[in-house]
Symmetry: C2
Subunit: 326 residues, 2 copies
C-alpha cells in the first residue's frame, strides 16, 4: 500500500508519519510514503520507504502530479491557515478550495482512466471552524455549518466536494474535523488559539506564558497523538458505514482555561502554574468568543474514534511524547 | 436602480420579471432590467426598460461582462438543473459552482476598484436539495446540509461562498431555498418532481395525469407567485438582519399527495379528480423517498417571508395567474 501525506511538514503531518512508520497505524503493508509540502518534510525511518516532494497545492499542475502517484491512501492536511485565509481572501480560496478541487478532479480522471478500478481513500482534515456562533451547549452531529471565517467556509466547501465525489464512487473520502490540538510542541505562534497550548507548554519548560482571556473560557481539545490516531483510524475503517454524511466532528475534551490550569497544577505543581501571567487581550477575547466550546460527537464515538478523557491526560501525552525533545 | 436577472428565461425568472414590471416588487425606481439566460428571455413591458442578454454562466468572460454591468440588485436563478447535474457531473460543478464563483470574483473586483463603494445585493436561488435524509419531522433552521445530489451539493457550496463574500463586505447576499414550485404552468417535463404539478395542472386542463407514487407521499410546496415574492422581499429587506447566516429555507405548504387531490376535488370537483391515474413508477418512488417533507421556517417567517397557507390557495393561484393563458 502506498500512502501520500499532503502537508507532511506540519506538526500533525509529522505525528501521522511517525505513527505510520512505528507500525501503529493499522494500515496493511505500507511500502511507500510520499511526503508532500511547501517545504521539505522531515523524514522518519520506519516500516516504509519515504520520498520527499516539494510543491504548492494551489498549482493545478502540481496537483495533477500528486494524483499521478495513484496512492492508495491520501491524507490531505495541507492548508493556508486560518489567520492567513482571513487576511488574504483570494489566496485562501485559491489554495484551500480551488487547489484541492483540482486535486479531486485529477483523482477522478485516474478513476475514469482505470475503468473505475482506482478509487483512493482520501482522509481530509477539516476543522471545527466550519461551525459558527450561536451554538447549542454541545454541537451535535446534525448542527449546521455556519462558518464565520473564510478558512471555515473553505473547509465546509471541501467537505461537500469530498462527500459528493465519494457518493459518486470516484473516491472513498472522509472529512475529519479536528478539535484544537493541544499541547502543541514547539514555539508559540501568532494564531489566536496559540495560548491554549502556550499556558501549559511554556510553564512546563520553565518559561512564563501570557493568558490573554478570562479563565472561564471553555474550549475543545485533543492531543497531537489523538489527531494522528483519528487519521489512521479513518484510513483503515470501512467508510461505507458513513452513508452519505462523510464529515465527522472528532471527540475531544471540553474544559475551561481554569480547568486546564488546575490539571497543570496537579501534574506539575504551584510553581509551574505561577508562570502563567493573565493579561487580557481584547482582540483575542473577541475572536475566541465565537469559537465552539463543546461537542456531542456521538457518531464518531460509535465509529470507534477515541480521544483523551481529561485535560490531565492531554498534558501527560505532551510530557511523554514531546517534552523530552523540547 | 438597475436590476440583473440571471436565468431570466425560466419560469421563476419570468414570474419575477412580471412582479417587478407590474410595480409589485417594492424596489425603488427600477430604471433598467437586464435579462440574462442561455436563450433570449421574453421581455415584459412595465415600469422599467429591459435588455435581453444571451450567454453561458459557465464562461468566465461572460461572467465578467455581467459583473461589468454593475447592477444594484442581482437575482441569480441560473443553474444546470438537478437531473442534468447528476448525469453530467463535470458540467454541473463547472456551471453551478465554478461559473458562479467566477461571477462573485468579478463582482469583488468591482467592489475593490470602486474603493468599496460598489456593493451589490445578490439574491441567489438555492434549493431544499441542500438537505438529505434522514430528516427530522420538520427540517429546522439549524439542521445540517447533507445533500444527496450533486445539484444540492453545488447549491450548498454557493450558499457558503455567498455568505463569506457578504461577511467580508464585498456584496450583500442572501440564499433563498425555494420549496418545490407548484403548480408550474406549461407542459410536464422529465423532472422527477414534475407530477406534483402535473396531477393538478393536467386535470384542470381536461387532460389525464399519471400519479407515479403512493398518495401518502408528503412534500413541501409554494406557488410561483410566492417564489417571485420571496425574491423581491429579499431584495428590499435589510440583509444585515441575517447576521452571518445568509441562507434561509423559505416557508411553504407541507401536504400529502392525497391532500393535494382533496384540495383539487374541493375546487374543481370529482370529474376533474378522476383524470388522475395512479400508476406506480419505482424509479420515481425511490427518488422522492429521499426528499424533504416538512419544514419549520421560523427565521424566514420572522423576517417577513410569506407563502400560501393551504394547497387550495396554491391551486387558486394557478387558476388566477396561469390557467387563463393555458
Amino acid at each position: 500500500m502506498r500512502v501520500l501525506i499532503m502537508g507532511a511538514a506540519g506538526m500533525v503531518g509529522q505525528k501521522l508519519l511517525n505513527r505510520i512508520q512505528t507500525g501503529q497505524s493499522g494500515l496493511d503493508a505500507v511500502s511507500k510514503i510520499y511526503l508532500h509540502d511547501m517545504v521539505p518534510a522531515n523524514q522518519i525511518a520506519g516500516v516504509a520507504e519515504s520520498e520527499v516532494l516539494v510543491g504548492n497545492i494551489a498549482d493545478s499542475q502540481e496537483m495533477q502530479k500528486l494524483a499521478d502517484l495513484k496512492a492508495d491512501v491520501i491524507f490531505h492536511l495541507a492548508s493556508v491557515v486560518s489567520g492567513e485565509a482571513e487576511t488574504n481572501f483570494e489566496k485562501g480560496w485559491q489554495v484551500n478550495m480551488a487547489g484541492t478541487w483540482a486535486f479531486l478532479e485529477a483523482l477522478r480522471g485516474h478513476h475514469e482512466a482505470s475503468q473505475q478500478s482506482y478509487r483512493p481513500k482520501v482522509i481530509f482534515t477539516s476543522s471545527i471552524a466550519v461551525f459558527g456562533a450561536p451554538f447549542p451547549d454541545k454541537i451535535y452531529d446534525e448542527f449546521l455549518n455556519a462558518p464565520q471565517t473564510s478558512y471555515g467556509a473553505q473547509k465546509a466547501v471541501l467537505e461537500l466536494l469530498i462527500s459528493d465525489y465519494s457518493r459518486k464512487g470516484f473516491m472513498d473520502g472522509i472529512s475529519i474535523r479536528l478539535p484544537t490540538i493541544c499541547v502543541r510542541p514547539g514555539k508559540p505562534n501568532l494564531a489566536a488559539s496559540s495560548f491554549f497550548s502556550g499556558i501549559i507548554r511554556e510553564p512546563l519548560n520553565g518559561v512564563e506564558a501570557i493568558l490573554p482571556v478570562s479563565d472561564d473560557v471553555r474550549h475543545w481539545h485533543a492531543s497531537p497523538r489523538s489527531a494522528a490516531r483519528f487519521l489512521t483510524h479513518a484510513a483503515q475503517m470501512d467508510l461505507s458505514q458513513l452513508g452519505s454524511r462523510r464529515a465527522l466532528s472528532m471527540p475531544g475534551v471540553s474544559c475551561t482555561v481554569a480547568e486546564q490550569i488546575e490539571a497543570l497544577r496537579k501534574i506539575a505543581g504551584n510553581d509551574v502554574v505561577r508562570l502563567i501571567k493573565p493579561q487580557l487581550d481584547d482582540h483575542i477575547v473577541s475572536i475566541v468568543a465565537g469559537w465552539p466550546r463543546n461537542f456531542d460527537t456521538e457518531r464518531a464515538l460509535s465509529l470507534g474514534f477515541e480521544s483523551e478523557k481529561s485535560f490531565e491526560e492531554i498534558i501527560q501525552i505532551y510530557l511523554d511524547d514531546d517534552l523530552p525533545k523540547a
